[in-house]
């Protein structure tokens, strides 16, 4: 028993300390916070207002205006940016000696993965939460239950995206490479997640791509979570339960694969 508790603390202590380091680092770099929140907010406001008039939903969902439709997508973009910024530091950590000094410590490799991903997820969650007070302003009514639900969904999305970022960054040589992946893969992933336009609106082949995109389910879960308290029908074609299961599975998978990859890495 005593053995088990020591084992547990030798796992949780490094995990927590690695996670805390992510938070301290992020909040010491003010420009990052502005970048991560600012650009999605500008996107939201400009695209939302600009397209607002010309955007028509198919069917009966015309009670939702575009600014409102785009809202969950904007939150997911903030999460995406934050998790990218926190995982990109893996590349810097490796170039400098920081990661090496963690790797020679007597801790399990999975606590390194978990600490890093958890840190990024908590950050992304915190950044996303800043947006929530805007919901009532654009007419989304929330109660305690829907807020709690939304927080859970936000955390799962954050965990999945940070895990994905971790996987990409771990084998990446340079931050430039990461930026290329971001533009060619991560941003399209977001564009085709139902953040900008509903799946049902898209052309045939695009629908397939969007249905295969795990992030679509995250955006759906978030949107439906935001309307949990109200009677508004959202323009989604999957159920909340399906959306939740896919999102959680994706988060779990990225974490497990990351752990395997880190364990396999022979540094040197």
């Amino acid at each position: 028993m005593e053995n088990m508790t020591t084992h547990l603390s030798s796992f949780s202590l490094p995990t927590v300390t690695l996670c805390r380091r992510e938070l301290i680092r992020f909040y010491r770099q003010r420009s990052r916070i502005i970048g991560v929140i600012g650009s999605p907010l500008i996107f939201w406001f400009l695209i939302g207002s600009g397209l607002g008039g010309s955007f028509r939903f198919p069917g009966a969902q015309s009670q939702m205006n575009y600014l409102e439709y785009f809202f969950p997508g904007t939150i997911v973009l903030i999460i995406l940016f934050t998790s990218i910024f926190s995982t990109i530091s893996i590349i810097e950590d490796r170039k400098e000696g920081f990661l090496q000094s963690v790797l020679v410590a007597p801790i399990s490799r999975s606590s390194i993965t978990l600490g890093k991903i958890l840190g990024g997820s908590v950050l992304a969650l915190l950044q996303a939460v800043i947006m929530l007070p805007l919901a009532p302003v654009i007419g989304i009514s929330l109660n305690l239950f829907s807020i709690a639900f939304v927080l859970v969904v936000l955390f799962i999305i954050s965990f999945g995206l940070t895990g994905l970022g971790f996987l990409i960054a771990w084998n990446m040589e340079s931050t430039q490479g990461f930026h290329a992946i971001m533009n060619l893969f991560l941003i399209p992933l977001w564009l085709l997640s139902g953040a900008l336009f509903p799946v049902s609106d898209a052309a045939g082949w695009l629908t397939t791509v969007m249905m295969l995109n795990p992030l679509s389910y995250g955006v759906t879960a978030l949107r439906q979570g935001l309307y949990l308290h109200s009677e508004v029908t959202t323009p989604d074609n999957v159920s909340l339960l399906t959306a939740l299961i896919v999102t959680a599975t994706f988060a779990l998978l990225t974490f497990l694969i990351s752990t395997v990859v880190v364990n396999k890495t022979k540094v040197g």
């Binding site: 020591t6 603390s9 030798s10 202590l13 490094p14 927590v16 300390t17 690695l18 805390r20 380091r21 301290i24 680092r25 010491r28 770099q29 170039k95 400098e96 000696g97 920081f98 090496q100 000094s101 963690v102 790797l103 020679v104 410590a105 007597p106 801790i107 022979k266 540094v267 040197g268």
Partner: protein, 335 residues
């Protein structure tokens, strides 16, 4: 330096699994990096290297770039598993009991491992948590280490505001926080000016004296190797010399005479036939290892008037040891 010789033979505490007095033993270490897309043949970084480091020694791995010392460093710091060979650290098998050994070693990397965005204290707290230190024990250790490396007044400053020498001290405090019995340092004086370098190596000596920490460091700087108790010289993956700086230099016997000439190889040949000297031509200079060099030089000049441009006489240095053993110059690049 005699007290070191006995340091390794203090009565072993045999009921303990970790025997601090047993030092480090490296046996038949061979490593080759696998083929990659860029390189179709495997690169041999270490070939059959064996030597021992005694407990309480300051031991230096000296070698030019590409000599294999960095590979050896990575193996000893538990980051790399070699293709062949065995390493025992304090009587523990490095490859079987990696996790246990990690508790007993402190590593200072060539690249800074401190987080610049964190304060000195935060860095040390983080490090302590990785070694399962916490609470008041950790706080006490941190205060102790800050005092020891002399940066207590900068404890609450961000590392990025510290000078290079100060950052090195934070690195050292970090590596020593969990009281390791073996301290491994990779090119510790990179980026330090000669003054700071001397101070750093003196600090390692005092550390060894007070805490009986065994110190292993890699370097390509000859002066630094000179200040260690013993050293191993590596060249192209092989061990070419092993011993105290004094013994290694002594082995050359006498003095080093360097002769420059218009036609070095031709002159070298005639000197060789005339005096049967131990000589070789290195980098266009004739290099003669000679006992009583001061008596030899007048003979040399009398014998070959006009053919000699200049003659210098010097005591052997570690560079001479290197040339003596390998037949080529020590390419340190930027020493």
């Amino acid at each position: 330096m005699l007290h070191l010789e006995t340091a390794g033979r203090i009565t072993p505490n045999s009921h303990h699994t970790v025997r601090m007095d047993s030092g480090i033993s490296i046996e038949g270490l061979t490593h080759s990096y696998p083929t990659t897309r860029q390189r179709t043949t495997a690169r041999i970084a270490l070939s059959n290297v064996s030597f021992q480091i005694q407990s309480g020694e300051i031991f230096c791995l000296l070698g030019p770039n590409g000599s294999g010392k960095s590979t050896l460093f990575r193996i000893l710091s538990t980051l790399l598993t070699p293709s062949e060979g065995s390493v025992r650290i304090f009587d523990l098998d490095l490859f079987q009991e990696r996790q246990l050994i990690r508790h007993h070693i402190g590593v200072v990397f060539q690249h800074p491992s401190v987080d610049k965005k964190l304060t000195v204290r935060e860095n040390l707290f983080h490090q302590g948590h990785l070694y399962n230190l916490r609470g008041s024990v950790l706080k006490r250790r941190i205060d102790e280490m800050l005092m020891k490396v002399g940066i207590q007044d900068r404890a609450y400053d961000l590392v990025e505001t510290l000078s290079g020498g100060m950052r090195r001290r934070v690195e050292l405090a970090k590596a020593l926080l969990h009281k390791p019995r073996l301290l491994i340092l990779d090119e510790p004086s990179t980026g330090l000016d000669p003054g700071a370098r001397r101070e750093f190596i003196e600090y390692l000596h005092s550390l060894r004296d007070t805490d009986r920490v065994t110190v292993l460091l890699t370097t390509h700087i000859l002066d630094e190797a000179e200040k260690c108790d013993r050293l191993a010289i590596l060249d192209q993956g092989s061990l070419v010399a092993l011993g105290t700086p004094h013994d290694l230099k002594h082995e050359i016997g006498g003095d080093i005479i360097s002769v420059s000439s218009q036609e070095p190889s031709k002159l070298a040949e005639v000197i060789r036939t005339r005096f049967r000297s131990n000589l070789r031509v290195v980098d266009g200079m004739i290099r003669i290892e000679q006992t009583k060099g001061h008596e030899f030089i007048p003979q040399l000049i009398r014998e070959f008037p006009g053919q000699i441009e200049s003659v210098t006489l010097s005591k052997p240095t570690l560079e001479d040891v290197f040339i003596h053993r390998t037949g080529h110059k020590f390419q340190s690049g930027k020493s």
